[in-house]
């Protein structure tokens, strides 16, 4: 243990630049088909399922900026961790209103916690990020807490 240094944890509180996304019916339809949605409002693209926001407010890296594992080298706004293999750890979502085609949303991600745990097959580093999504009128649309695991 003791993998996280003060340099790593100094990133707690770091906020990525806000990302603006225009929501299209076609993107909702693609997501809904890929996730086998069953509600007509999602399949028609009238409304986005809540998990549609996953990765929606991440910067789009250039091919030259990808690491060997296919993830972005420098666009996630976080420290270079000593454990490089990453996996999703979980999510909390609170939705204030549905996301619909035509919405212009702004998402802001922030590192809110970093900690270590000993897993069954070795140490794990948890990075917890918040996401706050507002609409063009600055009204809150969705809040998310997402945990990433490095092993």
């Amino acid at each position: 243990m003791g993998l996280l240094t003060a340099q790593h944890t100094a990133w707690i509180g770091h906020e990525d630049p806000a990302i603006h996304v225009e929501i299209t019916r076609r993107d909702i339809q693609k997501y809904s088909a890929a996730t086998e949605q069953q509600q007509a409002r999602y399949l028609k693209g009238d409304e986005a399922p809540p998990m549609f926001v996953f990765n929606l407010f991440s910067a789009i890296p250039q091919l030259a900026d990808l690491r060997q594992d296919g993830l972005a080298r420098s666009t996630t706004g976080g420290p270079s961790l000593p454990l490089k293999r990453t996996m999703a750890g979980g999510t909390e979502v609170r939705q204030h209103r549905p996301i619909r085609p035509g919405d212009v949303l702004t998402g802001t991600r922030k590192i809110v916690d970093m900690f270590e745990k000993q897993g069954a097959s070795g140490p794990l580093i948890f990075t917890v990020r918040s996401l706050r999504v507002v609409d063009a009128a600055d009204r809150l649309v969705l809040e998310e807490i997402q945990t990433g695991i490095s092993r």
Binding site: E36, Q38, P49, D69, L71, G90, T91
Partner: protein
């Protein structure tokens, strides 16, 4: 189906559903969310470099399937206010996962129902537990 909060009981089960990811479905999902992490499509890399037994089913995809248990149950008679899940154990291409849940609390004053949700693997282990809070619309009086 229309839900009436007065007929619900703590312990009631929500309909279960099976999900079997394929190379094609994982490609579609990762294209839709623009996720280029190789563990979700490159089998050789995933096994040789990251020591997984097979291509990994995305944790957020399991989170979506888990949220659908509540979304499909409440349908047009209410809304999913919040939910959470924790990816406790990885799932792999070839696994058949089962999503489901049950009612753990009912508040007839507010119309809110607390759900316990899960993704279970083929061995019967819950690999992604979660919770959901739904609000059910009040029935119109006759």
């Amino acid at each position: 189906m229309s839900l009436d909060i007065n007929t619900l009981k703590v312990g009631d089960s929500l309909p279960e559903r099976k999900h079997t990811a394929t190379n094609v479905s994982l490609f579609m999902y990762n294209a839709a969310v623009w996720n280029h992490h190789r563990i979700h499509y490159d089998e050789r890399y995933t096994i040789e470099e990251e020591s997984h037994p097979a291509v990994v089913i995305d944790g957020p995809l399991q989170g979506d399937w888990l949220s659908q248990v509540a979304l499909n149950w409440v349908g047009d008679t209410g809304r999913l206010l919040s939910f959470n899940y924790s990816n406790r154990r990885a799932a792999y291409l070839g696994d058949t996962l089962t999503s489901g849940g049950r009612i753990v609390e009912i508040d007839k004053e507010t119309g809110q129902v607390q759900l316990e949700l899960f993704i279970r693997n083929g061995d019967g282990n819950i690999i992604t537990p979660g919770q959901g809070l739904v609000e059910i619309d009040r029935q119109e009086a006759d």
